[in-house]
């Protein structure tokens, strides 16, 4: 009779059995890594309810009293409503201009493979390795030339240009993981190229599309640098620019209020992640990174 290793199968460990040292070490390392991610997320909650003086003396203690003043001040100064509409336009614009082209391109590169498409694919992929900072100045000049500077499309179009290469790669991998027989069966049933793509393959790529929509949304929501450079009118400022205005004004001098602004700015993406994490995991695991 074979013996189960300690812990496997949920069985009780016999007395005096040895601790599985490698598993314990891995567990400890994973706990430390998890804490490195989780603790910074919770730290603002420790600061946000304090006054400046209370924070100065006891930054790491629990707040003596729950005060909402810092949230109220941050909310007022950020002018959430105004920034929210602009940010939503940017996010939706980025999704609309990134996901459909990337899905189409990914499908072509996965299903219609030839030397030509491979070359084009790698040319598109090269765009993924160009950092934004490197092309910021020519990009800004081009936007001014195209009258896109100081407009919201001036923000989401470059976002799409930078995002398409990555999402094309993801869609290509995803479509390659789907069985060819499905497309062939559709073809036999009389579906054309578009019909096969829109009616058969794209619905099957649902997890990848949800993943793309969520992550493009989150990345567009969090964008600061591109928005800062492209937008000059206060009326067009996105959430992140408004939050940055606030953080830059109160940062090191007013940590509790800074924490309130950080929580407000992070809340939508955190909520979105909590709501959509199942889809994100499914999309990532369902072959999105295979091939």
């Amino acid at each position: 009779m074979s013996t189960l290793s300690p812990g496997i199968g949920g069985g009780r460990q016999p007395r005096g059995s040895r601790v599985n040292v490698p598993a314990a070490i891995v567990t400890i390392i994973l706990i430390v890594l998890a804490l490195a991610v989780i603790v910074p997320l919770f730290l603002p909650l420790l600061f946000v309810f304090k006054t400046r003086l209370e924070y100065s003396y006891n930054p790491w203690s629990l707040p003596r009293q729950i005060r909402w003043d810092n949230f109220v001040q941050a909310w007022k100064v950020i002018q959430l409503g105004k920034g929210m509409v602009n940010t939503l336009i940017v996010c939706l614009g980025a999704i609309a201009c990134t996901v459909p082209p990337a899905a189409c391109a990914g499908y072509i590169f996965a299903r219609y493979r030839s030397r030509m498409t491979e070359v084009i694919f790698y040319v598109i992929l090269a765009g993924y390795f160009v950092p934004l900072q490197m092309v910021l100045l020519p990009l800004y000049r081009m936007s001014v030339g195209l009258h896109l500077a100081d407009t919201l499309p001036g923000v989401f179009l470059p976002m799409a240009a930078f995002g398409i290469s990555f999402w094309t790669l993801i869609y290509r991998s995803f479509f390659r993981s789907l069985p060819c027989e499905l497309a062939e069966a559709a073809r036999i049933d009389g579906a054309g190229h578009w019909g096969t793509f829109f009616l058969i393959m794209l619905p099957l790529a649902g997890p990848a599309t949800v993943l793309a929509v969520l992550l493009v949304f989150m990345s567009a929501w969090s964008d600061y640098l591109l928005s800062l450079i492209m937008i000059s009118s206060q009326a067009l400022f996105t959430m992140q620019l408004r939050v940055a205005q606030f953080l830059n004004a109160y940062g090191v001098d007013h940590m509790p209020r800074y924490s309130a602004a950080a929580i407000i700015s992070a809340a939508p993406t955190l909520i979105l992640y909590i709501l959509g994490h199942r889809w994100i995991l499914r999309g990532t695991l369902a072959g999105a990174l295979k091939g």
């Binding site: 400046r52 003086l53 800062l228 009118s233």
Partner: protein, 416 residues
Amino acid sequence: MKKRAFIALMVVICCLVVVMPLTAQQLKLTVWGRDLTDGEPDHAYVTALIKDFQAKNPDITIDYVALGDPGLADKTKITMAAGSGLPDIFQTWGGSTMGGYADAGRLMDLTADLGSVPGSAAARGAMTWKGKLYGVAPFFAIAGVFVNEGIFKANGLGIPSSVDQFERVADMLKAKDIQPFACGEADKWPGLALYMYLTDRFGGDIFSQAAARKARFDNDAFVKAAQLYQRWVKKGYFGDKPLGEKYGDAQQLMATGKAAMHITGSWMCAQYSSKDFTDQQIGFYAFPAMKGGKGPVTDIMGMTDIGFAATKVAASRKDAVVRFMKYAMSGDAAAAEPGRVSSVPGVKAPSALTTMASNVFGTAKLVQFWWDQNLPPAVTTPLNDTIQTFFLPDTDVKASLTKFENLATQNMGAVK
């Protein structure tokens, strides 16, 4: 007759319809600044400036955009390089950064319009580049020694009047488990002020010679100052982990009485005199002279705290720009500021701490601008990196300075 009168009346109405919008046309000035206009004490000046200027100049609309720091610097840099999308007026500390924009032909020369506006010579100097005046600096920041008066009194310590005494006081504080200096060197730039003072006290205005490439940055005065700095680090004057503390941490150390002194800019006057921020009694003093050294106590380190420069896109609205600049330099506008040192004559300092800083500024015979704002941008970050190496006990500071000198040679030319 009636028909003629009707036609005449119509002509007059048409003329009025055409002319009235022209006469009532609003001028618009776009201003990029750092602070929000939210009425907070730290932002009181900018809030009042924008609001009151508009009230007093109904024909001008100010489109003020608060970009904070580093947002303002990043956006200005890109738009200046692109030469498009520029604001009419932008907030700046002047110096070589502003000078670079002037060299690129982006700024508007206001020498003839603002040359006669009363203000401190140092502030005007910061906004001048190659003999041309590009703006105004209503507030000036100087570096000095913030001292926790309560700690000094409780321990029977006097304000040091020489660098030697400074060291003795620091030793006594250290012996009583009080951190002598708050610094925040994790942010790199906070260590610069002390190094500037030590170098000046050893070698006088040696920096100006090095910047003009008449002396090397690893010259004797720079090296001695770095060695003294490193000795103070080794003695624990800046705490056990000086490179682990950010500028905000340094402020907290002062605010809670855990550190006794903070060598930094007078912009901290508003904070350190705010009962909401600290319950300690804090004073401001000049950095002392050094026995046998060349730099006197009247050599002060500092630069513009709030300044404005105008770009060439505002050339067609120069009159409105000049009106804005002059109002920014007026006593009315400057009086709203609760903490900064004003360079506008006749403005009363708003707090006892600012009065102390203003008095120190009043004694200045030489004002040396922040090195990291006054050297070419290519060497400013390496300068702060070099100073950070002084905080590592095993660093050969001379070698660090020689490395920096080599970089300066590449970017600014060799010493002649």
